[in-house]
């Protein structure tokens, strides 16, 4: 531990000089602390450690010793994956030279360049990577708060909430009603709520075919809408009702005590209610002072570096970067750009121009997979989409099956890329 030494250096020498040549002062290795062990943080930690051959000291702070991916958690809800298949440990990161600390970061002091953990430990850094995912905005859905999540789960951070939602779907009475309160933009995984509707519909079609599904949506359109609507008509005809803002989807109140949903003043009794509230950057980003009024953290498009502090990088869902959707794929892509920039600054390695990409696969029904994707490049203003594609309606079964199989390959690939 070189805590006192780093303090001494930090207070004794001008920050600009330290930024330019951190290796000048003797044996102390430059230190990177990464907060959040998901698609952004774990990828960044792994790539910095892997590619710097021990020249940079990398510490990853993640509250959960076992990480559950939010991507593919809908497939667990639909019965297509075991819960365990979504879970990943950090042993390969540890083995690859990353110090993994299972604790919660509770504070960031940018002047002292320290992170404080719930357990009391204080870490110092030369570069800080924040990849804390999302938190929910208070008051986004009237009547709902985190205290109500045991009754009306959000299941939008994968883990026990996901399992709870599945139990509640299974416990619905025959002919009961499932309601989802869909989130306003921007939010994690744009097709996620609608893939979830598809998966719940699949389960209900098998076990509870007279059940109904209501989607209460404040948005007037949503990701892959034509593909989902075609699929719902084809596989779950009459089961799914989507209520957009024209019909009150933007005027919702929930009453967890009585399992009621109020849509534009009309009270409805429901049997299972999934509330996905409005979102903002994971709380530690605001505590670090790198978020703006939108609740997200603006970053430079060419590096993922915070616009507020040039020693901090913000990745994935938490960042406000432009056109990329908030997805695990995006976070993984951004992490590689940030890792390269950080290695360039701390170890003098070569820095190439940033490039980003994203693809989101969604499952509509067994072996009926679709995808949407784009490639991106930094412009002075934002990360901008340069090319894109989307599955077409009316594709044949063989292509949809191949797309689903490809998504399984992608999950295996990206989790190996993130967790080693």
């Amino acid at each position: 531990m070189t805590l006192s030494r780093r303090h001494f250096i930090g207070s004794g020498i001008a920050t600009g000089a330290l930024l330019a040549a951190p290796m000048v002062w003797g044996q102390a290795k430059p230190r990177v602390v990464v907060i959040g062990g998901g698609a952004g943080g774990a990828t960044a930690a792994r790539y910095i450690a892997k590619d710097s051959d021990g020249a940079i000291d990398v510490t990853l702070v993640e509250a959960n010793p076992i990480y559950t991916t939010c991507f593919f958690s809908n497939l667990y809800l639909g019965g297509f994956r075991d819960f365990e298949s979504l879970q990943h440990g950090y042993d390969k990161l540890s083995g690859g030279g990353v110090t993994v600390i299972n604790d919660m970061a509770t504070g960031v002091d940018r002047d002292a360049r320290t992170v404080t953990l719930a357990g009391g430990q204080v870490l110092t850094w030369d570069r800080l990577v924040l990849s804390p995912g999302i938190d929910f905005k208070d008051g986004s859905v009237p009547g709902w708060s985190l205290d109500a999540a045991e009754v009306m789960p959000h299941a939008y951070k994968a883990g026990p909430q996901t399992q709870l939602l599945r139990q509640k779907v299974d416990a619905m009475p025959q002919g009961g009603t499932f309601a989802m309160v869909a989130p306003p933009n921007p939010y994690r995984c744009p097709p996620g709520p609608y893939e979830r509707i598809s998966m719940v519909a699949h389960v209900l079609k098998e076990r509870n075919p007279t059940a109904k599904i209501l989607v209460l949506d404040p948005k007037d359109k949503f990701s892959k809408q034509a593909l989902f609507e075609e699929g719902w008509g084809k596989h779950y005809n009459g089961m799914v009702d989507w209520i957009g803002p024209d019909f009150g989807g933007n005027n919702i109140e929930v009453r967890p005590g009585t399992m009621e949903v109020v849509v534009d003043g009309e009270v409805m009794k429901v049997d299972c209610c999934n509330v996905i509230p409005g979102q903002m950057a994971g709380r530690i980003a605001a505590l670090a002072g790198v978020t703006d009024d939108s609740g997200w953290a603006p970053v430079h498009p060419d590096s993922m570096k915070s616009k507020v502090d040039e020693t901090i990088f913000v990745l994935g869902d938490s960042s406000a970067q432009g056109d990329m959707p908030k997805s695990g794929f995006s976070a993984n892509s951004q992490a590689k750009v940030a890792a390269m920039a950080i290695r360039g600054e701390l170890a003098g390695s070569k820095v190439f121009p940033a490039r980003y990409s994203n693809t989101c696969w969604s499952l509509i029904a067994p072996e009926d997979g679709v995808k949407v994707g784009a490639s991106y490049e930094p412009t002075p203003e934002k990360i901008a989409s340069v090319d894109s594609f989307i599955s077409a309606t009316g594709e044949d079964a063989a292509l949809r099956k191949a797309t689903y199989q490809e998504s399984l390959g992608w999950y295996a690939g990206i989790t190996a890329d993130i967790f080693g």
Partner: protein, 235 residues
């Protein structure tokens, strides 16, 4: 319907817009001899052609890859078919030139026919046993030749493996570095030249698959060479 259709065709023809249906591909007689020498060990074509080591080749023009009845194709060929690869002059020509560069995992163990004229002759013969494009105007795309030849200068570019390693991080979100192949094919250890040809085939949209067409679409010649240099060295 027929009456209204015919004048429209006449107008198209008069305007010179009629598809180049009668385009001469090559010398079918020479192609027949080539077929005997190069293909007949595994394939039958003509009346009563049956499945042998390879699928029968009657009607191959316009057929979706991997779709001949009852033939057990490689996973790679089946995948290309479901991704949308259809056999036309534009796709058969590069396939005959270097089968594995177009369909990496194909079971067809054929070294490829490098001579352009010979390929044209062979294709002219194969087309004798498909629906004749001149009889079906809408079959036009199967009858057009395109220039898919890669400039030798592009193949000769020495890629920078360091740059390739950085660019490869983007590939490895889906393609596993250790060569695992589950739903998404392995690209680890892919011979350099095949890699370059395949990426350019995606760029030109000869290989189907929207993700790869997009990824390859923004790679320039140097970047493709760099990636090829990197992946060829991975074990």
């Amino acid at each position: 319907m027929g009456r209204r259709f015919l004048p429209a065709l006449a107008i198209l023809a008069a305007a010179g817009l009629f598809p180049a249906a009668a385009e001469e591909i090559g010398d079918a007689a020479r192609g027949a001899a080539l077929f005997k020498r190069e293909c007949a060990v595994c394939h039958e074509i003509g009346e009563g052609a049956m499945r042998r080591i390879g699928p029968p080749l009657n009607g191959v023009f316009g057929r979706r890859a991997g779709s001949a009845d009852g033939f057990a194709y490689s996973r790679a060929m089946a995948r290309m078919g479901s991704d949308g690869l259809t056999w036309t002059l534009e796709t058969l020509d590069p396939y005959l030139e270097n089968p594995k560069a177009l369909v990496s995992g194909t079971k067809m163990t054929y070294r490829g026919l490098k001579d352009t004229t010979a390929r044209s002759d062979l294709l002219a013969y194969l087309r004798e046993w498909s629906d004749k494009p001149q009889d079906i105007p809408e079959a036009e795309p199967t009858a057009l030749k395109t220039d898919h030849e890669l400039d030798p200068a592009i193949l000769a570019i020495e890629g920078d493996p360091d740059y390739g390693e950085y660019l490869a991080a983007e590939c490895q979100t889906c393609h596993q570095r250790d060569g695992s192949d589950l739903g998404i094919p392995s690209i680890t250890g892919w011979p350099r030249e095949d890699f370059v040809v395949a990426m350019h085939a995606y760029k030109k949209k000869l290989r189907p698959h929207p993700v790869m067409q997009m990824m390859a679409g923004r790679l320039n010649d140097e970047e493709i060479a760099a990636l090829a240099a990197f992946f060829a060295t991975l074990e």
